[in-house]
Amino acid sequence: MFSSSMLKSISKPGRYAGGEFGQIIKDPAAVDARVAFCFPDAYEIGMSNLGMRILYGVLNREENISCERVFAPWIDMEDKMREKKVLLCSHETGTPVKDFDFLAITVQYEMCYTNVLNVLELSGIPLRAENRDDSFPIVIGGGPCSYNPEPIADFFDLFDIGEGEEMLPEIVRLYAEMKKKGCTKHEFLLEAARTIEGVYVPGFYDVTYNGDGTVRAYTPKYEGVPAKVRKRIVKDLDTMYFPDKVVMPYIECVQDRIMLEVFRGCIRGCRFCQAGMIYRPVREKAPETLLKQAKCLYENTGYEEISLTSLSISDYTKLRELTDGLIEWTDEKKVSLSLPSLRIDSFSRELMEKVASVRSSSITFAPEAGTQRLRDVINNNVTEEDLMRSAGIAFSAGKEQVKLYFMDGLPTETNEDLEGIAHLAEETVEEFYRTPGHSRRAPTVTISVSCFVPKPFTPFQWEPQATMKELIEKNNYIGSCIKSRKVRYTHHDAKVSHIEAILALGDRKLSAALELARSEGFRFDAWDEFFDYDKWMAVFAEAGIDTAFYANRRKADDEILPWDVIDCGVTKEFLLRERNKAYAEKTTPSCREKCSGCGAACLGGKDICCPSAGNKGEDR
């Protein structure tokens, strides 16, 4: 536990103080297994994560298991801890992390990898799994980055591939049983890898490489360890555990609202989007379930806003029923609704009025690319007409600020596509003046451009990222195309995107670079103020890593990819088919219109939005 003199001498001590309403404290002596659940970033980021809320509840629901929270200490606290030799502790009971049975780390983005290592270091836990004897906690990884865990594989004992609601308790239960029998860590890991679907133990595979550095093979070292680890999904979202009681942070967090998860997956299949592929198949919750859960969450939290969180919320088949049902009581309680992920082609006046975020004068759309040709390539399936119609609705309702999201550096992109970004923004300004009843204030159209990062398990996983030089040129070129003074232009730092690509597409050889980065004091790389591109490139150079090999190389169609050891349901054949359709500038209909045989149907699931549900996927 941190002393009061430490807490009094740092910024935002509320990050470490605990004591929140809803936290669950169990007597360590009364449980069979203790899990420290870590979000490796600042408290106010971690406490905003829905996955952590769910898994905290799902583990603590088990009588003989306790789960406590851990976050990355901010740098001022880290300095104090190192100075006073204080180890990282859990929030609930102030127990040192290294005294837990498990350290479960949710890995949400590549730029937190150095924080993951720092958390291990600050906990007094050796970084590499092979250097940890049975006295240390078993380190589990999960979250989106576990779909290509290879760059950080050496630091983890086990990864949860897929949704953790069922898998994580199964793992901990198995451990509790085996611990009673006096089994070793190795015996437990082997049993887990053999019997629990979704468990990936990186240490149980021999990895060999070809002369050119590409992967030659992943070979299980033990019988019964799966050659390919299939991801887990929860089949029925209506009966799935959901966290009705939430730990209520006192300090302001990024997401200070009810997050009502409406469905999982996405019917769209944008070809750059990893989430749209790895969370397949689409599974919906029934509106009755959601209405009950929303009411219950409001009573237990008192939050003044409900956010309907799913990948593309307007694709929910019962959206009207849900929003109507919510509005029946939210208006009276002065609770507002927010729909953070509206698609341009489904935006309507009615929907906008329901979400009536009166306070906000701005609205965001994501055309993603500047021309119809490139939008077809990425399969985003919206048109300029859709955008103008949606912007017009917003303008006629009195809004004067529109934000547009784009990417640059997309496959097949030319200058014409970049010019198209400027064109769309300027057309949106024109649309403002064309709209009868527009606000009397001048419009602002903000375009926010991020750099394309190829991600595993997407049709673009074989694509090279544009080089740094190209990305910077592209960013500048867009700026030079904008003539209207009513258009504001911001773009992401290409340097961050480049490092992200290296880490996202990496293999186990990167662990040496990450270890080196950690020893050089890297942490909080997701925060602009701590990210240092030149230092990263120096670390890669020193570790002998050819960054272009990972980020800027076009991979052969038949190349064995580092993440091929994972089976996320969607098949490689499907991804390749989609990649080829992208080159041909052909779109693919949404799952609701027509099944394109992605393969995810083989995972099953109730109420899935998939015409081939119940059958095997076309490709299997």
Partner: protein, 233 residues
């Protein structure tokens, strides 16, 4: 909530005063964060809150005096406004189930006095100094805090400035028990004239070098006082 009694509407919204303790982990929560959290506690308690009638309706919530981070309190006060005739003991009961350990509601009543009548706050500050430092410190502390002027640098809205705080300290008592020194004092409070325990500690730091970064100490607000010295209610 199990009971669904409909309390009758009041002809006029009613102001209700809540007394609460803010101790333990809660001492590290800032005034602003407490305000935000309070709104949610009130909502969880399902109190029949009255909302302002404007463009952006919000419940009425006024705190007596902000409490600095790192200071605990057993005597905090906040006023809320309700639109239905819910009895005070019911309000207290509901708040009890809607809040956590470090935030404990101890009383609820219809107030007769205004927060502006508060002129002082009684604090106790305990420093764990160890036998060696305690004696010298307590003597020096008494000397420092009873001298005049006591000039400290104080942060105000218009930047840092030097202030003489000697007139803002009264009823000073310093006790020493083994290695612990306890400073008990009434510090002036009210608009533009508020002295916090940290200000007092700044004066002591300047004079004695203690408390330093290693010193464990705690500050507790005990009472809010009226001009006549009686406890404000």
């Amino acid at each position: 909530m199990t009971d669904k009694i409909e309390y009758p509407m009041l002809p006029e919204p009613r102001t209700v005063r809540l007394r609460f303790k803010k101790t333990g982990a809660l001492q590290y929560i800032s005034h602003l964060d407490l305000q935000r959290s309070f709104i949610r506690i009130l909502a969880r308690a399902e109190l029949p809150l009255w909302f302002t009638q404007g463009f952006n309706p919000h419940p009425k919530l006024v705190f007596a005096l902000p409490l600095a981070i790192g200071t605990e309190s057993v005597c905090e006060l906040a006023d809320i406004r309700i639109e239905r005739d819910m009895p005070c003991d019911e309000i207290l009961k509901r708040l009890g189930t809607a809040s956590s350990g470090g935030l404990e509601f101890t009383d609820c009543y219809v107030p007769s006095a205004k927060f502006a009548e508060i002129t002082g706050t009684e604090y106790t500050i305990t420093l764990e100094l160890g036998e060696d430092d305690a004696k010298a410190f307590s003597e020096k502390a008494f000397e420092t805090l009873t001298s005049s002027p006591i000039v400290i640098r104080k942060r105000t809205k218009s930047g840092e400035k030097e202030v003489d705080i000697s007139g803002m300290i009264s009823r000073l008592r310093i006790d020493r028990k083994r290695g612990n020194v306890t400073i008990n004092a009434v510090l002036s409070a009210g608009e533009g004239n508020t002295l916090n325990p940290e200000n007092l500690l700044d004066a002591l730091r300047a004079a004695t070098g203690l408390p330093d970064a290693e010193t464990e100490y705690s500050c507790m607000r005990l009472k809010m006082l009226c001009k006549d010295g009686a406890e404000f209610r």
